[in-house]
Symmetry: C2
Amino acid sequence: METLGIGALAKRAGVGIDTVRYYERSGLLAPKTRLRSGYRRYSTAELARLRFIRRAQTLGFSLKEIRELLALSRDRDVARVKRAAQAKLADVEQRIAALERMRDGLAMLIAACPGHGDPTECPILRALGGEGPDALDLPCASAPHPGAP
Amino acid sequence: METLGIGALAKRAGVGIDTVRYYERSGLLAPKTRLRSGYRRYSTAELARLRFIRRAQTLGFSLKEIRELLALSRDRDVARVKRAAQAKLADVEQRIAALERMRDGLAMLIAACPGHGDPTECPILRALGGEGPDALDLPCASAPHPGAP
DNA sequence: CTTGACCCTGGACCTCGCTCCAGGGGCTAG
DNA sequence: CTAGCCCCTGGAGCGAGGTCCAGGGTCAAG
């Protein structure tokens, strides 16, 4: 089976060599083997894992969370694995819902803005406003009770 | 008009005093005025702005991006403001789409997992796998071309 | 055997987004 | 006047996630 050196792996995944080593230090990605010289050798499984890490990161997961996700594969308790996956699903769904609220708020403002004319009429400016007395209150992610923690 | 000291402002927004000062240093939030003593005074407009900053952050915007969003309110060119808002909207929509792909991938794996029995049968473990030759390839955010930047 | 690309370790350094001093002043109540 | 609380500035420190050496070994091609 063809294996990759750290440079080839990094290149194929579009990351820096140092980043690969950093992930290893962080317990995210170990080389499949090492040569006697100490050189790391990776298989395509590690490449896939590395790509997964990057994808998950762009979706807002921290390395710690990704480590948890990946740790599932070491876990032999299938029921626990499934519950963990469900928890991550709920997490993802919450992120989506929050972003959808912001999307709707933005879309509404854009729709209401004529795109020309008096700046004081522009709902976007009014909403973001740092001066108007009606200020901003748009893409609201639940904060109707100023007194509540 | 009633104004707030930095402590009251921070409390009402649910952030630390140091955070407010940090945002000021970062050009995100200036006090409405200062007393001769140097004390910062804020109006409810600043409170709203601060809350907006926090909301936007929880939605994954960096302080730099938030600064851009807020800078729009200083911009008197309504058309440009509208375009910037549309760009942010597109950004948010992309994040949502990426998360939806991950959600669907996770949901599929969960649905396919019986939740008990042989771990080697569990699709979640197989997908996350750090050892199986079929490895993971699930919540794919477009990466079918290993050779493309 | 030499050259050049590649790799090793260990540790310093960087940006972000805070968070926490130290050392001092302002303001109000008793 | 003295507490006691709030506020000021400047700067250090921290965790996350890298990024960049220095100093040295490996290895394949010529």
